[in-house]
Symmetry: C2
Subunit: 649 residues, 2 copies
């Protein structure tokens, strides 16, 4: 098993697969014959000459059933069937994932994050006390028996900068030595010492002996790093701390409890894993976090709704003509016919393509800017935002797209019309989305399976860049599963397939193929290829689940509209389903959600394999740029000493 | 000090007083001259003959300022002044109350409820275990060091019935003995043994010697009670329990923490005080509570909005004519002229008067039906509901009332109009509300101060009913402050005064008088007369506060509308205030609210005067109908014995 997070993702894939298979069997067997034997399209084609094109695919869809026909009962029952299958399987999946999470949390292995809490918004240090003393006395007072130790969070921006530089030089030194060793075997026996230029990107400046130069730089930086470490520990202490307990139950209870009379001070939450702490976000204060959150929400909403405006503007400006006009040195290149044709075709979309490629990164950046303290939480937040973007722009955008601008006036007058417009334009886009889903699994999973892009990059890197063992390893780091864009992508597919399931059931086999292949391939990839860079014990699941039921709601709303378009007298029966879905979401949130937010005490109270090594747990949280091999005691000493002077000055 | 709850109520009164005094000084000095020296009313009276009446009071109001006059700046600034005074004083009050609550919670006295938690929704008892063993092992596992003991909640409906009967007979016996003793001193020396009839209300049936009869009854009931106690303890155990800890911190943390992976089982909340537990609500399950809550909300919303319909119907049916027709034996009484006049005048309103008198009780009943486990929480909930009723019906109803039905069509078309209708009809009702506020404090507080109604009842009771010392004491039990109707009443007054403060500042002195008198009188009453029947440590405050700011919001909305009516060009400046109020509510809720919901751990960690007597704490929670003097051990024994047999059968 490669972690609960991957397992949760696979549960999602298999649930989606299950929903589509169970729906598919019934819908294909029942609805296709019902639709194919009617002749609405033929009739309307005969009666109006302008609308005379339909293909065999359309014949198999709900569009081929006459308005207010008795046959629509079959489609109504099918709508119920799909909904109940979704309720049942997603309920089972929620229970299963909840069990997985509990099992992981109650495991007898010592997990460092289960013994720590993160304390933020600590009030100003009282006169004559250090920050560490303040934190220690506060928590010792509350937890006299189980408090172990605290670690004051410092602003490590500067020290990390130096540390990254130092690590860079160390790598470069290793690389230079490797080249030197290599040259000994290939060229002259005494070898050729590698040289490099000291200026910008190694392109300009004085040429020096690399090994000597890097050694020199490293020797220069080590004392600088040590000095900065000392300064950081003493003078850059922040109003946050990590507090360690000797008991899992205490840590779990502390993470859920209010500690101070003022809710905005001494806020305590569960500590993230050391590897996924976003250190710089620990410095952000309570109200700043709140405000950032709302600002980010507004920015994202504006981006999702109006991203076409700036991109349209950029596209309008960056025509070929303008490019040539302002960057005249490009003229000779552009005038080659082949290049000109390509540029003319793709330049207008270039801004859009770049935007879409960068969007997940942008959303992740924005989510981090909210002040979220852990990587996994930021990924969840970004993934949720990306979901809204894809649904709104890809699905609703494409479906309603054409008709929307023509009928904009109508919508403004009667907002209720939106549903019926959505419903009316769905059938005509069925073919487009069939192709979309098919393309997605052929191209997407083909690439995924072969991992062709990373493979190419890897080989290029190995050939031209990598010299040492570490470098080769780093080049072939498969990294995370990339939930930010992967989960919303899958959710988009299930939304599309659900929305078309009853209208054009022929889409279901494609959906089954997508999730079937996805499950097979990802199971392999998750087990053997990807290495998760963090573990949130399945906290992704509630977000997936609520969006899955959201997709179901969208499907039910479209069906409501489409039955209305078909003038079916019993259309209001669909409203029952909408209410059921809302109740289902409500019950699921009530029953399961809180145990995904925090660790239930009963779960935390299970016994451990061995008594935890608290010293080891404490050390796990020291950021690498602050850990110092020779003087192990320095860290604590510095923390408890000098801010007393600062505060008493 | 008679408890934090009374103190909180006094803080509310003094805050309202402060707001009105600070507003009043500025508004009366500035706005009255500005309004009085203009002549809008005179002009409009001259120009139209139909609208020719205005009195001196109207001259002092904003209505006397010409439309779009520069003078409106003064009123706009006044609107800001009142808002900022409210923000400042209510913020200070929130801080003060928060401090009061913290002080009460961290007090070194042992309070039994701080050592207990209430556990509900316990899953089915596993095979071969008793309920008590199940609860004990669960909590011992989580809190090995601080768990003391548990008490399984039983269904005490039957046993309480018998116990109440028994207590009734005991009282009656004491009374009969007192009468007998009295008769010895007043009548013949051997006295006259009191007699009573055994039938309905002592009016029919066989006549018996009271003392003998009651003794007999008591002797009959005691073994019945004991038998029922045993049955209750053994067979009527429910899925709830009270769990006791030896540490305040653990109890406080437990009340805030999630215990089980499934959120709907083993739900733990802070235990209410023993005297305010609503035992029968402890039997209600998780989802039942949720559903009850929503059902009650819907019922209350319907009651508030449409209560006039059934009452109108009842009034229509219960005319004098109908009464005479169906209850012909009333005819001779009704035909007396005096009675007829009175009945004809008041009968139509009778249903309304009865409804209004019973409404607080009805709302309290409905709030209890939600499944709330503590008396104080139910009172809070009922008080909140009553507030919405008074605001909607008394304030908005009276103000908009007349105009509303005429312009109902307009509102349906343009809901925004409601604000301007409200604004337009405000000035004309100023006199009505002036009288209303004046009446409220003259009559209301007059009655309060003299406590004339309870006094009359007391004297009547003492003269004709009370025979024993206990009975006299009970008759003069001043009881609670009655927050259910008192707080909404005061909130209605501050809403009215705030809404009129700028439009007709002359209302402010009346408001000051109301709250000034209220504060003086209630301080006396709270300190010397009333005896609180429970103590929630100020949990009422957030509810008062949010409604106070709600009143401010209503005031700002009306001002927005009224400036609009006055065609003032800078009206949008009022919108800034609306946004500020929303932010203010948000910040207050964020900063303070959670510490009113639960006990902060730092507060709970303060040291106690003496180590708590756990046995005493445990006993405090035994319901009186189950406590049994002779066999102290029975309770625990019974609990731990017999349900094993039940579950293993």
């Amino acid at each position: 098993m490669s972690g609960v997070d991957s397992a949760v993702y696979l549960v999602f894939l298999s649930t989606a697969l299950g929903i589509l298979i169970l729906s598919g069997i019934v819908l294909l067997l029942v609805l296709l014959p019902v639709a194919a034997t009617d002749n609405n399209l033929k009739l309307s084609a005969n009666s109006s000459t302008s609308n005379g094109t339909f293909n065999d695919l359309d014949k198999l869809s709900m569009g081929n059933v006459k308005a207010n026909s008795e046959r629509l009962w079959a489609f109504l029952i099918a709508t119920y069937w799909v909904s109940f299958v979704t309720y049942y399987l997603s309920w089972k999946a929620y229970k299963h994932v909840s069990g997985l999470r509990a099992a992981a949390l109650k495991s007898p292995d010592v997990k460092v994050e289960q013994f720590a809490v993160l304390v933020r918004d600590i009030p100003a240090v009282p006169e004559g006390k250090t920050r560490k003393e303040q934190v220690d006395s506060y928590f010792k007072g509350i937890y006299p028996d189980t408090f172990y130790r605290s670690m004051v969070v410092t602003d490590i921006k500067q020290v990390t900068k130096i540390w990254v530089k130092l690590e860079g030089y160390k790598k470069k030194l290793a690389r230079a030595e490797a080249i030197y060793e290599q040259s000994k075997t290939t060229g002259s026996p005494e070898g050729k010492r590698p040289m490099n230029k000291t200026g910008f990107l190694g392109l300009v400046g004085k040429k020096v002996d690399s090994i000597e130069y890097y050694n020199e730089k490293i020797n220069e930086l080590i004392p600088k790093l040590e000095a900065e470490q000392k300064v950081t520990l003493r003078e850059k202490q922040q109003a946050s701390a990590l507090v360690f307990f000797t008991s899992r139950v205490t840590a779990a209870a502390a993470g859920q409890s209010l500690h101070d009379q003022m809710v905005d001070s001494w806020t305590v939450i569960d500590a993230p894993e050391p590897r996924q702490i976003i250190w710089k976000n620990l410095l952000i204060k309570f109200y700043s976090r709140e405000i950032r959150q709302y600002v980010v929400y507004i920015i994202v909403a504006l981006t999702i709704l109006f991203y076409m405006i700036p991109i349209g503007l950029i596209s309008a400006v960056t025509t070929l003509k303008n490019l040539v006009k302002y960057l005249s040195f490009l003229k000779p290149i552009v005038e080659i016919v082949a290049i000109k044709t390509v540029l003319e075709a793709y330049l207008p979309q270039l801004a859009l393509i770049i935007f879409l490629a960068l969007l997940p990164k942008l959303l992740l950046y924005l989510s981090k800017a909210e002040g979220i303290p852990s990587q996994s939480h930021a990924v969840r937040a970004a993934s949720g935002k990306y979901f809204y973007f894809t649904i709104l722009n890809v699905f609703i955008g494409v479906t309603v797209g054409g008709t929307l601008f023509d009928t904009f006036k109508t919508i403004e007058d009667q907002p209720k019309e939106l549903v019926s417009i959505l419903a009316k334009s769905l059938p005509s886009n069925a073919t487009f989305f069939l192709t979309f889903v098919a393309l997605k699994f052929f191209v997407g999973y083909g690439l995924e399976l072969s991992r062709i892009v990373p493979l190419i990059i890897f080989h290029l890197k190995r050939k031209y860049l990598c010299k040492t063992e570490t470098e080769v390893k780093e080049a072939w780091a498969p990294g995370d599963l990339g939930y930010v864009s992967r989960v919303p992508g899958d959710l988009l597919i299930i939304t599309i397939v659900l929305c078309y399931s009853v209208i054009a059931p022929i889409i279901l086999p494609f959906g089954v193929l997508y999730f079937g292949l996805g499950w097979l391939i990802l199971r392999n990839q998750a087990l053997k290829v990807y290495v998760p860079s963090y573990e949130s014990n399945g906290r992704m699941w509630p977000h997936i689940h609520v969006r899955l039921i959201g997709a179901l709601l969208l499907y039910q709303v479209t069906m409501l509209g489409y039955f209305g378009v078909k003038e079916f007298r019993y259309t209001p029966f669909v409203i029952v389903l909408l209410i059921l879905s809302l109740i289902f979401i409500f019950v699921c949130q009530k029953k399961f959600y809180r145990s995904f937010q925090s660790v239930p005490l009963e779960v935390a109270s299970h016994e451990l394999k061995e008594s935890p090594n608290m010293e080891h747990i404490f050390r796990a949280y020291i950021p690498p740029s602050l850990s110092c091999e020779k003087d192990e005691e320095q860290f604590e000493d510095a923390l408890s000493q000098v801010s007393r002077t600062t505060s008493s000055v």
